[in-house]
Amino acid sequence: MALLEVDTLQTHFRTPDGVNRAVDGVSFHVERGETLAIVGESGCGKSVTAMSILRLIPEPPGKSAGAIRFGGRDLLKLSEREMRRIRGDEISMIFQEPMTSLNPVLKVGRQIGESLRLHQGLGRHQAEAQAVDMLKLVGIPEPKQRAGEYPHQLSGGMRQRVMIAMALACSPKLLIADEPTTALDVTIQAQILDLMRDLKERVGAAILLITHDLGVVAEVADRVVVMYAGRKVEEAPVRRLFAKPRHPYTRGLLGAVPRLGSSLEDRAGRLAEIPGMVPSLKTRIEGCVFAGRCPEVQDVCRRHAPGLEEKAPGHVAACHLSLRDQAAAA
């Protein structure tokens, strides 16, 4: 059984001008020890999905439906009390902006120790000793001294390491990382990505990585879910997704990213564009959500929303065009 199974998750929000279907029927699973990346552009529902798993969606105005099975329990059915016991212990999260997610008036050693005391019932000294070990694990030099410092005394990269130490303190089974390197500089991002890869092997936690950066996905993910307008449009093992994307949106995204090495060509060509913009999620969309921007759109796409089809083992995509592909192959 998978570690985490998200089944037809819907998270909607009530707004003054209608219901926003931020996540509308997303299913995926995360196996023990693997890294699953959810990739998509802003507003595709990837962060809302992560927040829904941790039940951090404010209700009202939001509401989640479907099932989120984790260790045999449906997280959506747990009481807030039971949920609190899971957060930070079995599932923990790191955020994009480390400064706002650390408490500015608590020393970092104390902050890491806090969750150990809360979830594992350690004494204060024990917890802080273990906090120092965690800081060492995430590669912070002079961990003992750093544990006695406040978040503002650390650099951005150090803070993100502290966040990771805090998230890993209770040896969670699942780590949700929401844009963990987006706010960091490239050289610091490289450090953190290396650290995440290294820790994955040593700690053995599964990682659910939320990102918009296909470069980051290629570097750390095992499998990828591509989201668009609140739906999952494609899912595949990482190499397969980059080699044989089956959804026009995924193809568009891959084409739109400039890659290093363009200077070897004589003149830089144009980047592939995806014309138009994401549709509003406040009106129900008949047909395929990508139909309005799809270069290969057909009549049927506007009438019938495509369901997810298995294109190859472990590779699913929601696109009617596969029919034509098969016909062409035959």
Binding site: D17, V19, G25, L323
Partner: protein, 304 residues
């Protein structure tokens, strides 16, 4: 799906239709919508409008001349004839409270208006011109070290009690707060990239202040004005209560309370009604202020 469309081709995989998680609700428009979306704003506004109308049309809402003495009917409890009872001189308390609203509302409105306009001007200049700023801010720091009530009392001590003087005194006491608020807003607006773009577009500083900065200060200023209005009404009542406000002959809520002070334990109605009107009016103004803040704050509007 419309009946005219063709059935989907057989091999097509169609996504399951998903249920609504949140029941669809008609967009809230019109009066009912306004009440449901912002109940406190509507409540505050309706109370305020009622009191303003009563004050404006005071002679036609069942009042008599608030100065009419009737020694035969001194200290009557509330009755069908005198709704709030009568005071020590037999004057109808209901009429006095309604006429008293005129003073409170006039003070609140004019202080809010004058303090906003003058404070806005000072704040805009101070936030824009650095050398003026260093002088003005020291002055304002000094003024703000005195509580506004004491400052108003001190100013009233220099002059004779009249409605205009009360308004001027309270306005002077409120200006520093507004100026400082506006200056803060101006300084943060100056950091906005669109101001840099306007400089690059060749706009001189004065035009940037008028076209780009001023309009963005109006929303927070409007909200602040309501709080000033509420605070001014309280300060006015205190001034009247301690005899430093409008002349005692004028019915005002502070004066009515001051007159009833000696007997309030045996005749609570002497103080109660004017105190209640003052509290309710201040509450209503604050509710309106909070409601405006929610509507005008662009961040709030975006998150909804």
């Amino acid at each position: 799906m419309a009946g005219t469309t063709l059935p989907p081709p057989r091999d097509l995989v169609i996504a399951d239709a998903l249920p609504d998680v949140l029941a669809p609700r008609k967009p809230m428009t019109g009066l009912v919508g306004a009440v449901r979306r912002r109940p406190t704003l509507v409540l505050g506004a309706s109370i305020l409008v009622t009191i303003v109308l009563a004050a404006v049309f005071a002679p036609w809402v069942g009042t008599v001349d608030p100065g009419t003495l009737a020694t035969a009917k001194r200290l009557k409890p509330p009755s069908a004839e005198n709704w709030f009872g009568t005071d020590m001189l037999g004057r109808d308390l209901y009429s006095r409270v309604i006429y008293g609203a005129r003073v409170s509302l006039a003070v609140g409105f004019f202080v809010a208006l004058l303090a906003s306009v003058i404070g806005l001007a000072i704040g805009l200049v101070s936030g824009t011109v650095r050398w003026i700023d260093s002088i003005v801010m020291r002055l304002i720091d000094g003024m703000m070290s005195i509580p506004p009530i004491l400052l108003a009392v001190a100013l009233m001590a220099l002059t004779r009690g009249s409605l205009q003087n009360v308004i001027v005194a309270i306005t002077l006491a409120e200006i520093p707060r507004v100026a400082r608020l506006v200056r803060g807003i101006v300084l943060s607006l100056r950091e906005q990239p669109y101001i840099d773009a306007a400089i690059a577009a060749g706009s001189p500083m004065w035009r940037i202040v008028i076209r780009h900065i001023l309009p963005n200060t109006l929303a927070p200023m409007t909200v602040q004005a309501t709080y000033i209005c509420a605070s001014a009404m309280i300060v006015e009542a205190i001034l009247s209560f301690i005899g430093a406000g409008v002349p005692p002959i004028t019915p005002s809520w502070g004066n009515i309370m001051a007159e009833g002070r000696a007997l309030w334990q045996v005749k609570p109605n002497l103080v109660f009604f004017s105190a209640a009107f003052l509290s309710i009016t201040v509450l209503a103004v604050n509710l309106v202020g909070d409601g405006l803040r929610d509507i005008l704050d662009p961040r709030m509007a975006k998150s909804l």
